[in-house]
Each structure stands twice: as C-alpha cells, then as structure tokens.
C-alpha cells in the first residue's frame, strides 16, 4: 500500500516524531511504500539537527534523512510553515534530503495514496 505520512510536531517538543519514525520504518519493513513525509506546522523543525542527542541516539533529523535516502521517500517541508519560521539567509544549508513543497502538492500526493496517516 502507499501511505502518505504527515508530521505536525517539532522533534523535541513532542515524542510523536519518534512514533512517526517507527511507523515509517515498520511500513518499509512490511513492504509498503511511503512516497512522502510532509512536515507541517512545527514539524518543519525536523529538518534541523542538534549538536547533542540525549543518550547518544540518532537524532530525528538524521533518522528522517536515512529514510529519505534508503527508501526514496520525499521529505517535504510545507512552504507556508517554513516561510513563517525561517529566512533562507539565517540558516546555512538544509540537509539535501529535505525540500519545500506547497499544501496543494500534499493533497496531490494524498490523492495517489491509499492511506494518509498524520502525527
């Protein structure tokens, strides 16, 4: 099955991001396809990596990047949410796996998916 995943929460403000990561990893292991993860609202902050990660664990940003590379999952940052939160000048370079996309694109992907699961 094709599943679109939507992430609304920041990587440290909520542990739901970890739950979403587990969901996508399980989907991939079960032979399903997650064509895209759409980061909305404070989910935008998942694109950034911290200098420390409690307990030596992989940070959410890196875990998303791995999923993006290994499973050709597009990591899409809602452009309206991104524009409210950052100026292109004030941040260095985003990890190349993440790119901006509009809400209409999210719906267009949803249309081609069997399920939409939001966190």
């Amino acid at each position: 099955m094709k599943i679109l995943v939507i992430v609304n929460e920041s990587p440290w403000g909520s542990s739901l991001v970890t739950t979403a990561l587990r969901f996508v990893q399980s989907a991939n292991q079960s032979g399903h396809k997650v064509p895209a993860v759409f980061f909305q609202n404070d989910g935008i902050y998942n694109a950034f990596d911290g200098r420390v990660s409690d307990d030596g664990m992989v940070s959410p940003s890196r875990a998303w990047q791995e999923i993006g590379r290994e499973h050709h999952t597009r990591l899409l940052l809602c452009s309206a949410a991104f524009a409210r939160r950052f100026m292109t000048e004030s941040i260095g370079k985003l990890p190349e796996e993440f790119r901006e996309a509009g809400l209409p694109q999210m719906w267009d992907i949803a249309r081609r998916c069997d399920r939409v699961v939001s966190f």
Partner: protein
C-alpha cells in the same frame, strides 16, 4: 464496509470526547504515545471497552506502553497490545486512519 482506525495520540479528555463522537460500530481505537496514559483510567474509552457488547475494538501499542512503564495496567485492563508490524496491518486493514491529539 471496513471501519476507521482512530489513533488516540494523547490522553487529553477533549481528544477522547471528540474521537468518541466520531466512532461508529466496526471502527477500531488504538492508543499511541501519550494516549496509553488512558490505561490509568477511569475514562470513557476504557468504560466503553470493558462493557460487554462494545461495538468497537480498543488496542494499545506495546512499545509505548513499555516506554511509560504501564505493562501491568494493560494486563489488568485485558487490552490487546500491538507490535509495530501489527499496527501496520491495522492501518491497512481499515478504510482510513484518523489521528486525535
């Protein structure tokens, strides 16, 4: 027709109330993340679940129950726990998935 899988991602009573107002017979309810705090009941979900003839099924994610140290609660409540693979089966087995926070 297949039912809807309602994912309860928090124990906020407002989320519980709104969720229950959309649950229909045949739907499934899955406690995820902070939603597993509902195992500490009393609340309307456990009350409904524990009533004979309840028309929807209630599950909780095993990993989240363990991460919060609520294993013995889940046993007492006789709630079925799902591992992450089973979670995916329920997502695909239902008609659509709604997440309540």
């Amino acid at each position: 027709m297949k039912g809807i899988l309602h994912q309860l991602l928090s124990a906020d009573p407002r989320a519980v109330k709104d969720c229950l107002s959309f649950v229909k017979p045949g739907d499934e309810l899955l406690l995820i993340n902070a939603g597993v705090h509902l195992l500490n009941g009393p609340n309307s979900i456990l009350a409904a679940h524990e009533q004979p003839g309840c028309e929807f099924r209630v599950f909780a994610l095993e990993t989240d129950v363990k991460a919060r140290g609520l294993q013995s609660r889940a046993e007492q409540r006789a709630l079925r726990l799902l591992d992450d693979q089973q979670w995916l089966e329920h997502v695909c087995g239902c008609q659509q998935v709604l997440s309540w926070r």
